[in-house]
Amino acid sequence: MSLRDGPLGDVRPPILWLAGVALALAAVAALALFLGDRREGARPRAYAASRNAADTAIAPVGDVLAAPVRWIDGAAQTVGDYFFAASENAGLKRRLAAALTWRDKALALGEENARLKALMGVTTDPPLPVVFARAVIDARGPFSNTRLIDAGSSRGIAEGNPALGEHGLIGRVVGVAPNVSRVLLLTDVESRTPVLIARTNGRAILTGDGGPTPQLAWLRTHDPLRDGDRVLTSGDGGVLPRGLPVGAAVKGDDGTWRVALDSDGSPIDFVQILLFKTFAQLTPPGALQPRDLPSTATEAPVAPTQPAPTPPTAKSPGGRLTP
């Protein structure tokens, strides 16, 4: 006997009521997904396997579709270079004159720096390996600012690696699949980056809000901030290395201090990933080797040692004691 022939066969719930039930079920499922989701990369393995699978599927499609965009962009660049060659030439001459002044200063400072390092026995940080990649998806909405790039764990990229554009930091890797990675941009509303103000050595947390200029939150500095102050990564927390260029401080329309990102003017389709894992990478390997230090553990208490005899002293002609 089919259900239609039963006693409830004539019961027809209104379609609007059924649609409401379906709506409630879908909303509950969406809410459960939202509450259970973690995409921020500070916690290891926060990026779900399903996201990695989706990124892996989306990236090749984006790569193919982005090819005509790159060709058009390249053609427009060529045409622009042709028509604006004269004005660009004048601009480049101005910049070259300014750069030559800076070059002389840099040479002098470099020489002084090397002398001071030799004097103090300071060892410099070894260079970090870099992977270059191309962005295939660029999400730029108010609720998520991420980029999908066409390089992943097969090229050594790991979660937490800093991502740089042509001119400065753009974000960090939050999800890695074998051939693609997801970069959380500094402008994303969930992005938090510890930074320092180069002039004052003050500290702040760079907080994204979906807009082009992220906010400087939790600002701690003795001297007041000034427009144009350089902002760098502080390295606090150990996620990013210290000293990566981020941007310049600007006063926002809402009265808060914000950062005009260095990466704003640079091309968005190429990124470089610094393969930075921990600060141990920045230390010479020999410094981390265990050394022969005296043992602090003893099996039996030993008698207190006698204090060493004081070495004979002699009075210098000036009346001061010398060993």
Binding site: G20, A26, F34, A66, F143
Partner: protein, 171 residues
Amino acid sequence: MTSTTAGRFNPILWLGAPMALCAAASLIFALPMQGFGLRPPEPVFALVPAFAWGMTRPSILPPFALLILGLFLDLLWGGPAGLWPLALLAAYAPVLYARVFLSAQGFWGLWAWYAAACAAALATGFVFTSLKAGVPPGLIGVGWQFVATVALFPFANRLIERYEDADTRFR
């Protein structure tokens, strides 16, 4: 008569074609594009069927189609999973229950109500993102996305016109 008109209605086409078109359009607009230092806006194409499906007829399928479409947007844009399904359903639900009233509206009136549905979706996204991230997203960015999405109303109107007479039981 009813069976004849209902027979013209193909739910797979009604749901599947707009879903595929929205996914393709969202993917194209998510490509890295930049001209004169500016990047194009990121409209929420999925709000077009969310509005049109609610207007056309009540059904148990559209909420789940919006769930799938929203999850696709979350995965494409790298946002928190569940955010866009919630936002799309927030736009769909009031339209579904006000469809009789909305059916009486003209083109411009319907455009205004479509804008209200978009506002409901983006307000939902704003609230849930603020709760999750601890800081509210910038209103300027939300405003740009709202404007870009509201401009898509002619597509929603076309979808409504295409299917409003397909099943006369729900006219």
